[in-house]
Symmetry: C2
Subunit: 347 residues, 2 copies
């Protein structure tokens, strides 16, 4: 089969690799219908996260079950399924409580020895604990299929951020980051009943999506000016719920600065760089909480899926460029250069 | 009147100062019956927090209202009252939601221009928003008076930490710090229904109090060994709720290390030092939350008071040395040298 591999920074290739096959009785093989490129894939692409030459890449996909191991009870060939961005056994303490990302037997697609989502097929370990079935007729609905793909990561991650930020009915929310996760944070905050959603971003194409997703205000400023703008919009107090969807020192610093005393920062941007931006003395004086981390999206798919299926929420606008498998390297380039927001892959 | 003043690091004096008097219609003057020395006072004593020469000190006290301003409706001369460690107007948004420490008109006892608790009397601004009345007959109960004094800071601060750590019925809790706040964190965790409470501390006199307060296990190790010991006690997972009651980089690092994936650190140790101990990449991978800060103890007194009055909880063992006003400098010395846990002052 063909799949995307990474050999060095900025050196992605689409090449022949061994076919995905059942290795354990609990595996299935999924033929990929849709995959995509994540902002966090760019850390590997840019060499800021180390990869071994030839390692697979891509952790978001949905597709059709092609073959199921003998012990798989929940899936059969022909099923349409979506995969969260980590696999998990579905039976441990952490899986039972909805923290699938801490499953001791879990792992990330594209880690050494595993298939990645940006390929023709994927061997899925612990299929019963990992995958979620989708309605079969969605396979023929191109638009819906794209929306459903967001369940593999960005929608659930935005939801995790909104929960960490403590968004509830009537909340005032600020969202730092206008990438796909930040935009999905807007969508999730709106879904959870936020009254006011302030999106921080300077790219009109992106803030237009934010507005369509429910943002009531857009702040184009950065740093101190962003803080001043958010404070002006919130009677000087800041936002009670802040979503941090970037992961840099500066973005966290902004998140702390715009959080109202007693509020929470829901952070889902993968931390990068030496500084954290977490000014503990400011957070201490103002009782600002920090909650979040890698999102256990497997736990959220059952809750979010019905709303995507019936169109209550439609995250598909975050995909603004579509490529075939051979177009994946170009898709990365477009995202790296910020000419694309999020790239959809149709293998 | 006589009050404690700080002139330079390690230079505390008990000297004549202007009498506490009503300045605003919303003030009362409280004659101090009991005060005490806080671990956080030691930061000023050691010169790690700057003070102006002659500044007052002490932020925990209870006493008798001596005089009340014309606009004070809740208190009259003769009332026994306890003061939380900040004053607050009782009318702003933050006071209304129980975050009195963020009151824009609030302030700390001992800040420039205000009286401190370690003196004969204190002018209390915004008395109606600040003080809490105690039963008059408690004034003649020496033991109860000492227990009630803990409501001014350490008991409410321990409670804040326990709430931040997410302690609930059945929780496994670990407490970093065997000072008075850490011990009150044990007491608060027990009161909130924790099943298992692991106290980290190496001073037997203190860990004995921890056990009396409800600790089920004591870990005397520090650093990596402490982490290993807590993990061994918790099936390898760590504690779901961790109280951080020290405020150093090392203590926060330990707190992060012993928190179970998906758990929370309730932190109330005043952050000191350049490093934070907050390893964001570890916290991200394991979804560890950080919640806490300066405790709005005014909000907690009404909830905690009945339990202190009826003896359900008795924080008085944290006071292990009693001095008169002239003994305050010696009391600081004893706490600085760790020969005393917490010093009670009877002016």
């Amino acid at each position: 089969m063909r799949a995307t591999t990474i050999h060095a920074p900025f050196d992605l290739r689409v090449e022949d690799v061994p076919d995905a096959v059942i290795k354990d009785f609990t595996d299935v093989v999924v033929r990929v219908l849709r995959a995509c490129v994540c902002g966090s894939d760019l850390w590997a692409y840019r060499g800021e996260s180390a990869r071994q030459p030839g390692q697979r890449i891509g952790h978001e996909f949905l597709g059709i079950v092609e073959e199921a191991g003998a012990d798989v009870t929940g899936f059969a060939p022909g099923d349409l399924v979506v995969a969260p961005f980590v696999w998990s056994d579905g039976t441990c303490d952490y899986c039972a409580e909805g923290l699938h990302t801490s499953c001791p037997r879990g792992g990330f697609w594209g880690s050494v020895g595993s298939d990645g989502g940006q390929g023709e097929a994927v061997r899925v370990p612990f299929a019963d604990g990992t995958l979620v079935k989708l309605p079969a007729d969605a396979a023929s609905d191109d638009h819906l299929l794209t929306a459903l793909l967001a369940l593999s990561d960005v929608l659930g991650t935005g939801h995790h951020a909104a929960l960490g930020a403590g968004v509830r009915k009537g909340s005032t929310v600020a969202v730092v980051g206008d990438g796909a996760v930040g935009l999905c944070g807007v969508l999730a905050a709106k879904r959870l009943g936020a009254d006011r959603i302030i999106a921080l971003g300077r790219h009109t194409a992106r803030t237009d999506i934010a507005r369509a997703f429910g943002a009531t205000d857009v702040v184009a400023e950065r740093g101190d000016a962003a803080e001043a703008a958010v404070r002006e919009l919130t009677g000087g107090q800041g936002a009670h719920a802040v979503i941090e969807a970037v992961g840099t020192e500066q973005s966290m610093r902004t998140a702390v600065a715009i959080t109202r005393d007693g509020g929470s920062i829901g952070y889902v941007g993968v931390p990068h760089g030496s500084g954290t931006g977490v000014d503990l003395s400011v957070m201490f004086d103002r009782n600002i909480a920090l909650r979040g981390g890698v999102a256990p999206v497997r736990a959220y798919i059952p809750e979010l899926l019905p709303d995507v299926l019936d169109g209550t929420i439609d995250p598909s606008p975050v995909f603004d460029l579509t490529v075939g498998l051979d177009g994946v390297p170009g898709g990365y380039r477009a995202m790296d250069e910020r000419t694309a927001l999020k790239v959809l892959v149709k293998p």
